[in-house]
Structure formats: structure tokens, C-alpha cells
């Protein structure tokens, strides 16, 4: 093993602590604000004199978060399932098959990564309206799936490219069809990468703010982050209550990440570390 000098170790720790602080500070601020007594004004990032958890109950009921969570769950789960399946299929084709036009097709997928939703939102709105899908979950699901697929295909292609070529060839000789090869050999092989993709997609879809704001018109189909916006508009002066709403909205993503973090990190490292 290399022995790093004391100065290097000190520098490492300083940088790590600095970045941890930068990441944790706003989150800690919101959480601490949420446990201040209602209608008080948290001034600095410090624990309150006494913790008040009533804000969460108030926010949940008054902010209609049960309704928004239902929408968010329906949309996020559908988006995760839909985009992951499409990403697996697309990544498999681009990663393991040779066909005419594959490069151009792949780069057109990548284009989706480059173009921001905001650039297409106006025409998107008219398209969705033409399809009579304004204020439906279907609209959110379709648009979000199409957005997620750009990264998903790129990600799954890399995961499948990391599979040894011989594994695919062995399966072909053993008589596996392309379909079986995918589900029996490649998907289990790329499982960590797939789990990572689902975590990222779930977080992305759950936190999506702009699309629901534009494409929904009623509370019925509004998702949690957009609902939070409405809620915070109503209670601008009540920082602890709004903070409690923000914490509530953030919890599902945190839970999903905590549950899958081992696989998440393994997936991120796939291909980076041999064996």
C-alpha cells in the first residue's frame, strides 16, 4: 500500500469535510427549520429551543400531500418501469448488436441528453393538448419516460458493453435466442447498473417540478414537488411549516436511496473496477 504523506491526508480530509459541509448545510438547514415551532422565524442554522414535530402533521393534511404523493407514486413508478424496460432493450441493441445505422440512432438518443425540457416545453404542451392528455398522469409518464430513456439507453449500453463478449458468444452457441440471452444472461449480469438506473430515474421523476406544473391543471394530478410549490405559496410566512413540507417531499427519494445504496454504488463502479 502507498503511504500518503501527512499533508496529503490533511488535504484529503479538508476537501472531504468542505464538500460534505456544502452538501449537508442546506439539507440540515431545511430539516432544522422544519422542527421549529410553527410561525416562528428560524434565523440561523441552529436547533430550536424545543423540537416541534407538529409541523409535519399540519403540512401533510393542509398541503394535501396524501393526494400529491399518490400522483407522484403513480407517475414515478410508471416512469421507472417504462423507461427502465425501454433503456434495457435499447442499451442491449446498441451494446451487443451490429446493425446498419446504429451509430446515427445512438447519437440521436444522446441528443435527448443535451436538449433541455425547457427548450421543447411549448411545442410539447401543444402536442399533449392535441392528444387530449392535458391534466393526466399519462402525459407526465409519457413525457418523462421519453426524457429518461436518453440517459437510460446510454447507461445500459455501457453496462452491456462491459459484459465479456465471450459470455454472449457462449450463450449463442448454447442456443439462447436474443431475447433469452438478454433476460437470462445480460440482465442478471447488469443488475447493479439496472438498480442504479432505477434509483436515478426514480429520484429524477419524483423531483420533476416543471412538467407537472405545465401539463396539469388540477390538484388531482399534481405531483409532490409542484404541490409543494402551491403549499409554500399559501404559507410564505410560515417557514417551519413550508420546511416540513419540503422534508416530507424529500423523504421517499432518501428512503429509496438508503435502501439501494449498496447496489447503487456497485452499479456506479461497474466497469470502473475489474472483477
Amino acid at each position: 500500500m502507498n503511504t500518503a504523506s501527512r499533508a496529503q491526508v490533511a488535504l484529503n480530509y479538508t476537501l472531504l469535510i468542505l464538500f460534505t459541509f456544502l452538501a449537508v448545510y442546506p439539507i440540515a438547514g431545511v430539516f432544522l427549520a422544519s422542527v421549529y415551532p410553527s410561525r416562528t422565524q428560524p434565523t440561523s442554522i441552529a436547533p430550536p429551543s424545543h423540537f416541534d414535530f407538529h409541523n409535519f402533521v399540519t403540512a401533510w393534511t393542509q398541503g394535501h400531500f396524501a393526494l400529491y404523493f399518490r400522483s407522484s407514486a403513480i407517475v414515478a413508478v410508471s416512469v421507472v418501469v417504462g423507461s427502465t424496460i425501454i433503456s434495457i432493450l435499447g442499451g442491449y441493441a446498441f451494446g451487443t448488436m451490429r446493425f446498419r445505422g446504429s451509430k446515427i440512432l445512438f447519437y440521436s438518443f444522446i441528443l435527448g441528453l443535451i436538449i433541455p425540457t425547457e427548450a421543447t416545453i411549448v411545442s410539447l404542451y401543444y402536442d399533449i393538448r392535441a392528444l387530449h392528455l392535458i391534466d393526466t398522469w399519462t402525459a407526465l409518464i409519457l413525457v418523462e419516460v421519453s426524457g429518461e430513456v436518453a440517459f437510460g439507453v446510454f447507461w445500459m449500453r455501457a453496462a452491456f458493453l462491459a459484459a465479456p463478449r465471450s459470455l454472449i458468444e457462449a450463450a449463442r452457441i448454447d442456443g439462447a435466442s436474443s431475447w433469452r440471452l438478454l433476460w437470462r444472461i445480460m440482465v442478471p449480469f447488469a443488475w447493479p447498473a439496472i438498480l442504479t438506473l432505477t434509483v436515478l430515474t426514480f429520484a429524477d421523476s419524483w423531483n420533476e417540478f416543471f412538467l407537472p406544473l405545465v401539463l396539469t391543471t388540477s390538484n388531482q394530478h399534481l405531483t409532490a414537488p409542484a404541490g409543494l410549490q402551491l403549499f409554500s405559496g399559501q404559507y410564505t410566512m410560515n417557514t417551519p411549516l413550508v420546511s416540513a413540507g419540503a422534508v416530507i417531499v424529500a423523504v421517499p427519494v432518501i428512503v429509496v436511496f438508503v435502501l439501494l445504496q449498496r447496489q447503487f454504488i456497485r452499479g456506479v463502479l461497474t466497469g470502473a473496477v475489474k472483477g
Binding site: S166, A170, G175, R184, P188
Partner: protein
């Protein structure tokens, strides 16, 4: 079981010709080794039989049937890969059974064949383990087992021993050979290791730059190499080559010389070109002793000494820039820098045309 044949088989990747006009018959039950350096086309030749590459021209036949357009799974072959290619998420048992399951073989038959293959290879106790819980040697056996359960017409093996340590490689080498003799399945085996080729093959094909350089029994290749490439490739340590000039008297060469070295061909008509390269295997070059059937002495400076226990290999610089590797006794006492006289066993000097590199004979 069935024989395999290549008929003017050619494979091009873009502008690169990986295999050129290979014509070769492999008899039913034969163990054929394809050997050659990297990029010689040996693996391409194997993959053409497997159906993992499509032919650019020519034909490949298994059991007399042209299989150019037959899918890999329908060729009735089994392949052992260099990295074993075991399915990582499946147990050994599932790995072994996979091909049979794909074929929809009856469950009882699958079980019976898996057990039989596992017993043959001594891996019964590993059946419930996953590949990552196996050592390199065990993985190698499972890979062999996976080929074995299919009971194919042809085994294809792509450097299956190259990931094993030296000792295990020697052991597995003889096991594969024994197994093949026992079941008698036609086997094409690719390796870059000429020792593997010589010890395992009924016949050996030496490949170079996509071309077949020579095919023959291990002994033929060793004793009658077709050209300098085969002569240098087969045998370890390699044959030493020394360029010599030819003095002719009328139609027949009377002497080959280079510096102190002077070789007189035995009586008879030796029509040789002006420039010839002689090849000498280490075991035919010795430290000079009077008498015997030795040509020499030639004095040379020792460049290196390699003590191997049973023998000592000595690199001796005999003329400008040429070195003769001499097989000396275990108790060889000289050191690098010393000058020693060496001799070459008569009748064991290979002659090659320096332009075409083709073999011209042996004196």
C-alpha cells in the same frame, strides 16, 4: 462425431485479411492444434467453425455438410473460451445444464448428463456453487464440463489453459488430452504455446499472418520444418540461425562458411543458392569435445548462462551478431565473457534459403 473441413476459407475484417485461403481436413476424432503468434489467424479459424464469424469466402464443413449459413447453436459444436465465459449468476449445475435446457431436453436426461460430466471432471461437489466461488482451475473444469454435457460433434477450445498457473496448466493439459482420447470427439484447439501444441496435438497447424505455414505431426514439424518461421516457432528454446555463404564447385556446394565456421556438405549434389541460413537446435550444439560426429570447433564468447537444473543453456556469440544457443551439462562451469569452443552435431544442421526462408534440407 464428425470431421471438419476448411475449403479455401477466407475471413476479412475491412481491409485486413485475418485468414487467407485455408484448406484443411480434420479427421473424425482427431485432436488438431492451431498454433501461431498473435494475429496469425488461428482464433479466427476456430471462430469460423463456431459460427461466431461469418466467412468472407470459401466453405467450412462439419461431417461433410457445408455450415456457412448454419446458426452456431445448430452446428452441434461446443466451445471452451479463454476466459471460460461461465454465466456468473448461475450455479455450476445451471451452467452445465443451460445448453440442454435451451434444447428442451427432458429434465431426467439433463440431470443424468450433468452428473456424468461432473463425475468425469471431478466437480460433483461444486455443483451448487457460483463461478465467483471457484478457483481458476475449478472454473476451467466447469467450462470443460459445459462443453462435455452437450456431447457435441466437435469441441472447439480457444486457449483454454492460458489463464492457469504453470503447474496447473501442465496438469490440465494432460487431462484434456486423456479426456479427448477417451471420448474420441473431434477437437480443434487453439494456443500460442508451442509446448501445448506439441504435447496435445495429433497434428499441429502452424499459422502465420493468416496463412497456414505448415501442418503435420508434432515430430514432423520439429524435424522437418517447412521454413524458418516454423523452425523458429516450434521448439524451446528456439533454433539458432546463422547466415553463411556458399562456395560452389560447378553444380554442387562444397562449403558453407561464416567466420571460423566451415561446414562441408556430405558428398552428393547440393545445389544451393549463394546465401543460405543454417539453423541449429540447442540440443545439437555442444561444447566442443574431440571426436564424435561434431562439426567445428568454432570459438565464441559466452553472452549468457541459464542454469535449468537438468541442463544449462548457454548463449554463445559465434560470428558478428549471431548467437548459437548451446545445450550444456548441468555442471557447466564457464561464465559470461569467457570464450569457449563449440561444435555442431553433423546431420542436424538445417539449411534455409535466405531469400524465401524455405527449408532446403539438412546436413
Amino acid at each position: 462425431m464428425a470431421g471438419v473441413a476448411y475449403r479455401e476459407a477466407t475471413k476479412r475484417f475491412g481491409d485486413v485479411t485475418a485468414l487467407s485461403d485455408l484448406t484443411l481436413e480434420i479427421a473424425d476424432g482427431e485432436f488438431l492444434v492451431l498454433v501461431g503468434p498473435s494475429g496469425s489467424g488461428k482464433t479466427t479459424a476456430l471462430r469460423l467453425v463456431a459460427g461466431l464469424e461469418a466467412l468472407s469466402a470459401g466453405q467450412v464443413l462439419i461431417g461433410g455438410r457445408v455450415i456457412n449459413r448454419v446458426a452456431p447453436k445448430d452446428r452441434d459444436i461446443a466451445m471452451v473460451f479463454q476466459d471460460y465465459a461461465l454465466y456468473p449468476q448461475m450455479t455450476v449445475q445451471q451452467n452445465l445444464a443451460f445448453a440442454l435446457k435451451m434444447r428442451k431436453s427432458p429434465r431426467a436426461e439433463i440431470e443424468q448428463r450433468v452428473r456424468r460430466a461432473a463425475a468425469t471432471l471431478g466437480i460433483e461437489e461444486l455443483l451448487q456453487r457460483k463461478p465467483r466461488a471457484l478457483s481458476g482451475g475449478q472454473r476451467q473444469r466447469v467450462a470443460l464440463g459445459r462443453a462435455l454435457v452437450r456431447e457435441p460433434q466437435v469441441f472447439l477450445m480457444d486457449e483454454p489453459l492460458s489463464n492457469l498457473d504453470a503447474k496447473l496448466r501442465v496438469q490440465t493439459r494432460s487431462e484434456i488430452k486423456r479426456l479427448q482420447q477417451q471420448i474420441g470427439t473431434t477437437t480443434i484447439y487453439v494456443t500460442h504455446d508451442q509446448v501445448e501444441a506439441m504435447t496435445m496435438g495429433d497434428r499441429v497447424v502452424v499459422m502465420r499472418d493468416g496463412l497456414l505455414a505448415q501442418v503435420g505431426s508434432p515430430r514432423q514439424l520439429y524435424e522437418q520444418p517447412a521454413d524458418m518461421f516454423v523452425a523458429g516457432f516450434i521448439g524451446s528454446p528456439s533454433m539458432s540461425f546463422i547466415p553463411v555463404s556458399v562456395t560452389s564447385n560447378g553444380n554442387s556446394a562444397v562449403a558453407l562458411s561464416c567466420g571460423e565456421l566451415r561446414i562441408e556438405p556430405p558428398a552428393g549434389a547440393w545445389q544451393l543458392p549463394d546465401d543460405v541460413i543454417i539453423g541449429v537446435r540447442p540440443e545439437h550444439a555442444r561444447v566442443w569435445r574431440d571426436g564424435g560426429r561434431m562439426i567445428g570447433p568454432i570459438s565464441g564468447r559466452i553472452e549468457y548462462v541459464e542454469m535449468l537444473g537438468r541442463e544449462t543453456l548457454v548463449g554463445v556469440a559465434v560470428t558478428d551478431g549471431t548467437r548459437l544457443v548451446v545445450d550444456a551439462d548441468a555442471d557447466f562451469g564457464h561464465r559470461p565473457g569467457d570464450t569457449i569452443p563449440v561444435g555442431i552435431e553433423s546431420g542436424r544442421i538445417y539449411l534455409f534459403d535466405s531469400k524465401t526462408e524455405k527449408a532446403l534440407g539438412r546436413i
